[in-house]
């Protein structure tokens, strides 16, 4: 393995990305299911745009943000499964015998998540444009959506890695998926928060960081450059990424010590 931190990260990131791309069972559903949900939502809830106060007359434009966040949940699954597999097969144990730094292992492993996030973001953008979605903030806004989407993928990917390192089990990572799915559904996924009628649901959606991630992406498509929505979205995604990376790093330290 090449010497410096950058070399170590690059080697492990290449391995992680190759491994992700070589697993169609991981790649295809992470692209297909968000697109399927988008198609069903768009056909099923288009009439919601007739509600007074709905921010756009295209439910496709409103719902496209869901695909990016749902894709990030799949990234968590991917990162978690890959990490759990490394624990189960003993790859991590062998790595612990090398002088490799802990940080490079974690960042390198998340390289696969970044690649997956980029593929997902490009696919969802292309699908959205092909279906007629509107991008108020134009090309720079679309690029910012890609950046935010990758950041969300890293945040959830690190959460998957944390679960894998903590438990050493792929099954435990799978168990995390329904929880993250719940976080998506209990957000402002289907309607803007001010149009959610049920009090407790609106409160949950307001406390749920996923709502702000969705709203950040949506703002670039519907309203243009909204500094507050973007700051909240990047703040929530970045904050979550910091927390989950710190948790994964601590779990990795414990795992390496045990090894």
């Amino acid at each position: 393995m090449s010497g410096g931190l950058a070399g170590q990260v690059a080697t492990l990131a290449r391995r992680s990305a190759t491994r992700t791309l070589r697993q169609p069972m991981m790649l295809v559903p992470s692209l297909l299911f968000p697109l399927l949900l988008l198609a069903v939502n768009t056909g099923g809830l288009d009439s919601a745009t007739r509600l007074p106060g709905f921010p756009t007359n295209s439910y496709l434009t409103f719902a496209l943000a869901i695909a990016f966040v749902q894709g990030a949940l799949f990234a968590a699954n991917s990162a978690g499964n890959n990490m759990a597999s490394d624990v189960e097969t003993g790859f991590l144990s062998r790595l612990s015998l090398t002088p490799m730094r802990r940080a490079s292992l974690l960042v390198g492993q998340l390289g696969g998540v970044v690649v997956l996030g980029l593929i997902q973001a490009a696919t969802f953008l292309a699908a959205g444009i092909a279906a007629g979605a509107h991008f108020e903030a134009g090309v720079p806004g679309a690029l910012l959506i890609v950046l935010l989407s990758v950041l969300i993928s890293v945040a959830f990917g690190a959460l998957g890695a944390f679960a894998a390192l903590r438990t050493g089990s792929g099954e435990a990572v799978q168990g995390l998926f329904p929880l993250m799915f719940a976080a998506l559904f209990l957000s402002s996924m289907a309607l803007p928060r001010d149009l959610i009628e049920t009090d407790w649901f609106r409160t949950v959606a307001t406390w749920n960081p996923v709502s702000y991630m969705l709203e950040g992406i949506r703002s670039l498509m519907i309203t243009g450059w909204d500094g507050e929505a973007l700051a909240l979205a990047f703040g929530c995604a970045g904050g979550l990424a910091l927390i989950t990376l710190a948790a994964a790093s601590a779990a990795l330290r414990t795992r390496m010590t045990r090894t």
Binding site: G43, S47, A190, I196
Partner: protein, 256 residues
Amino acid sequence: MRDLLASAGAVWWRNAHNFFTNPAFIVPGTLFPLFFFTAFAGGLSRIEGVPGFGFEPGYTAWIYGFVLMQAAAFGGIFTGFSVARDFESGFSRRLLLASRRRTGIVLGYVLAATTRSAFVLSVVTAAALLTGMELHASAGDLVAMYALAFAVNAASSLFGIGVAMRLRTMQAGPAMQTPAFLALFLAPVWVPFDLLTGWLKSAASINPVTVFLEAERGFISGHPTKEGLAFLITAGLIALFVMWALRGLRSAEAAA
């Protein structure tokens, strides 16, 4: 007949016992429909204000109609998972050897699916009533509503059993789940059929689940709609999937 019932009873008891005593089975099986009910009824209740929605009992009852179908259909599909698990563990091989009337095995799994769905439907119904769902149905409508749900449950369990007996592995999960999931969501889940748009409306127009949902919601509102057609389609599906499951059983026998 006695042999058939003995085999069916043993399989039913084992599966029902496994379901009620193992949290890994009972928790996801119950939480899944409850979660959808909570998320849709809570998050989308404003949809009833869309012009043309017009469902008197309200949005909670509207979503209850969908969750009823979902719980019934997935109760059957999860039973297909149990069959696959029994094949992977080698239990089914011993069961095939021990059973004097193997058709009873299929019947036992269907009865187990009915039992687990009865439990899940009770929990979902209790949750819906506690959250203020209005039911405008008469006693007869209620009986018909649950009869239709159990008939759909029988059809989906026979479908799942047929798939599991042919493939005999847990990896067959997506082959059971995906068609059920697609059929459920390519239907008027959130709004009435007339408010659907685009390709989803075309898909829903030929999807039998659309008829089931309209019938269930008709019972809920006290104005039965398309109920005869719904029962007729379900009877046809049951007949079709009985053959599918029994042929699956023959395939499993040949492989055993």
